[in-house]
């Protein structure tokens, strides 16, 4: 181990007693080494107490709906191989786009207690769309959110955005 890394290990408390004595002896006679140790200590201390306190920029309900959807999707993925071994004959009579049918099942996610009247609710999305739904009891709203990284569908007219960009 080179001497700089030994100095750092001293700062981090990673040296055994014998090595500590050796490095301290060096520090007593080498000014550069002492300055370097000082700098390492400052940096260590500054970083240790300075983690940026960023908060998740999504509401509790919105974030949880995504987690819940992920859990449901994983559970289905694990169950899928067993089911696919011997598909029931009647499944062939179901919606021909089985991917869409599966998506319908995947995408209907509820976040929170639902009343029996909600059983009537369901949704269906186009095959190339990735959407998920959740329910906010507090704000009394059901949401279907279309996740679209490329934002191919943009119902708000371009002129609205152009105005914004011009303003910028």
């Amino acid at each position: 181990m080179n001497i700089e890394l030994k100095l750092q290990a001293l700062v981090d408390g990673e040296l055994d007693a014998r090595e500590v004595r050796e490095v301290e002896a060096l520090l007593a006679r080498d000014e550069f080494a002492s300055l370097l140790v000082q700098e390492l200590k400052w940096t260590k201390s500054a970083v240790r107490h300075s983690e940026a306190g960023v908060a998740l920029p999504e509401t509790r309900e919105f974030f949880w709906s995504k987690v819940e959807r992920g859990i449901a999707a994983e559970a289905r993925n694990q169950a899928a191989p067993a089911a696919s071994v011997a598909p029931a004959w009647w499944t062939k009579l179901l919606f021909p786009a089985s991917g869409l049918a599966a998506m319908v099942a995947v995408l209907f996610v509820m976040s929170g207690p639902r009343s029996s009247s909600d059983d009537a609710l369901n949704e269906n999305v186009a095959e190339d769309i990735n959407a998920y739904s959740f329910h906010s009891e507090a704000e009394k709203m059901s949401v279907v959110y279309v996740s679209d990284e490329n934002a191919d569908f943009s119902p708000v007219g371009q002129e609205v955005k152009n105005e914004t960009e011009a303003e910028k």
Partner: protein, 147 residues
């Protein structure tokens, strides 16, 4: 002869019932609002207005964007069993049909294609929000309120 008369009576009754229900008072009313959510400052566009306080507050409690602007708003009666289309922008419209058991079937149509079909219970006074990603980390919302 009697059977024939009974059959005619049944057909006429069924037709009469259909006509009666088709022309019955609206089952529900809907108000659809197209909203744009953004973190940008208010665009200088006269067709956009700040979303009303209550709805703004509701959306802001659920979604992350700071500003919500109303792009368009449409209202309509919803006669039972009949599909009603509401055009909210050049590329976006919704089709709503009230089904039996107090359920509305809502279709979100973008660029002429049905993107999402959702059945929504009208039993509770809850809004249905169809939303999605827009370019530049913005978002769009179609807020549907029924009564």
């Amino acid at each position: 002869m009697f059977l024939r008369a009974l059959l005619i009576l049944m057909v006429v009754s069924a037709w009469g019932w259909q006509v009666a229900t088709a022309t019955a008072a609206p089952e529900a009313k809907v108000q659809a609002i197209l909203v744009w959510g953004t973190d940008e400052i208010k665009p200088d566009n006269k067709s956009l207005k700040q979303l009303d306080g209550k709805l703004h507050e509701k959306l802001a409690k659920v979604f992350k964007w700071q500003h919500y602007f109303e792009v368009s708003r449409k209202s309509s009666d919803l006669p039972a069993g009949k599909s009603q289309g509401l055009k909210l922008s050049e590329e976006c419209s919704v089709e709503i049909k009230v089904l039996p058991e107090n359920v509305a079937e809502v279709k979100l149509i973008g660029k002429g294609k049905t993107l999402v079909t959702r059945r929504h219970s009208l039993a509770k006074a809850e809004a249905l929000v169809l939303a999605g990603d827009d370019r530049n980390n913005n978002a769009w919302f179609v807020v549907l309120n029924f009564n």
